[in-house]
Symmetry: C2
């Protein structure tokens, strides 16, 4: 059943999710600034205005925190982008929704959480496997959507694997260049990103 999410400009997080997101965002910003190895639990506790004991009440260590942050981002992606996307039958509409909603999610969570998702090498091997598998599933979903567009003869002549990487690079690129304090609104950026990426792939 196709949804009508273009009107759904602000994807809503619950209050407790917003609090969790805020903790992860603050920690993610710090890790992004200093680098994961150079950031101590003490630094994180200080930035969050928690005692170190208070922080350990919530998380069991730095690697655990990193995993929680990345998993949180991936779960939001699943809830707000992948699951709604799977309900859209038309691949063209699905592609547009994936791009727009993923961009909005990054803008809403703050870029650092998205950037940190690259930090898989700092996870324990079992955690790394889980995250890598979630990422692969997402990329498969995008590639499958492009394949369906090709079957409908709507796709430009391009390599589907490279094209999916490009789409992904544009979306996560927003995490690096967007300055929430100035410039365009989140919905404007999401629309521009969607227009750009779909113009690249659609005939």
């Amino acid at each position: 059943m196709p949804t009508t999410p273009t009107s759904n400009k602000s994807q809503s997080l619950s209050k407790s999710e917003k609090r969790t997101a805020e903790i992860y965002r603050v920690a993610a910003n710090l890790i992004h600034e200093k680098g994961f190895e150079a950031t101590s639990m003490n630094d994180i506790a200080k930035r969050l205005k928690l005692t170190k004991a208070g922080l350990y009440y919530y998380i069991h260590g730095k690697r655990d925190l990193l995993y929680s942050i990345i998993k949180f981002g991936m779960q939001k992606l699943e809830e707000q982008v992948i699951i709604p996307g799977m309900e859209i039958e038309d691949p063209e509409e699905r592609l547009k929704q994936i791009i727009e909603k993923h961009t909005l999610l990054i803008l809403e969570l703050g870029g650092s959480i998205s950037i940190l998702t690259d930090e898989v090498q700092s996870l324990t091997p079992p955690h790394r496997r889980i995250i890598v598998a979630m990422k692969r599933d997402y990329m498969d979903f995008v590639r499958e959507t492009l394949r369906q567009l090709r079957a409908q003869k709507k796709l430009n002549q391009l390599n589907i694997n490279i094209a999916s990487m490009n789409i992904f690079a544009i979306i996560v690129g927003v995490a690096r260049w967007h300055n929430p304090k100035k410039g365009w609104s989140k919905s404007r950026v999401a629309r521009e990103i969607t227009k750009f990426a779909t113009a690249a792939v659609l005939r």
Copy 2:
């Protein structure tokens, strides 16, 4: 005077430039793996199979090395992308050449040097200003090219600032996803990236 660089698939570095590039690439890989703050001069010397004294003969410290790596990358960009691009009068051809040559440069130097260019916050303020100005000049050059395309009515309806960020994200994205050990040849990737980005912006 338009050049004919599509035939120029392998941009050539001199032998001593290749040696410098190799040292910077190795150091950049290590910094990328461990994070800048967590990487010591000792780690870098060990990886390069130099004594610490030997390393200090070439560079004066870690922050100095970071600056040298980033500046090296920006200078290559200037030599191989910006200066040749400035000689191309037709903005459509210029845009294609910028994208293709910048992608090839990243593939040739190895992704870590390009990724490290984001690490400006770890530079001293005077060095940071130099690098930020070089980056701004490059983005201005791309934006100016898009503006000329708009004047020629060849540009899709899109925001030029966001479109330049997207083009940049696609090109530097290659540094993160391309695996030199498998997959497509450098020239194939560069062509696909160019096709994708120009389809996005050109009518």
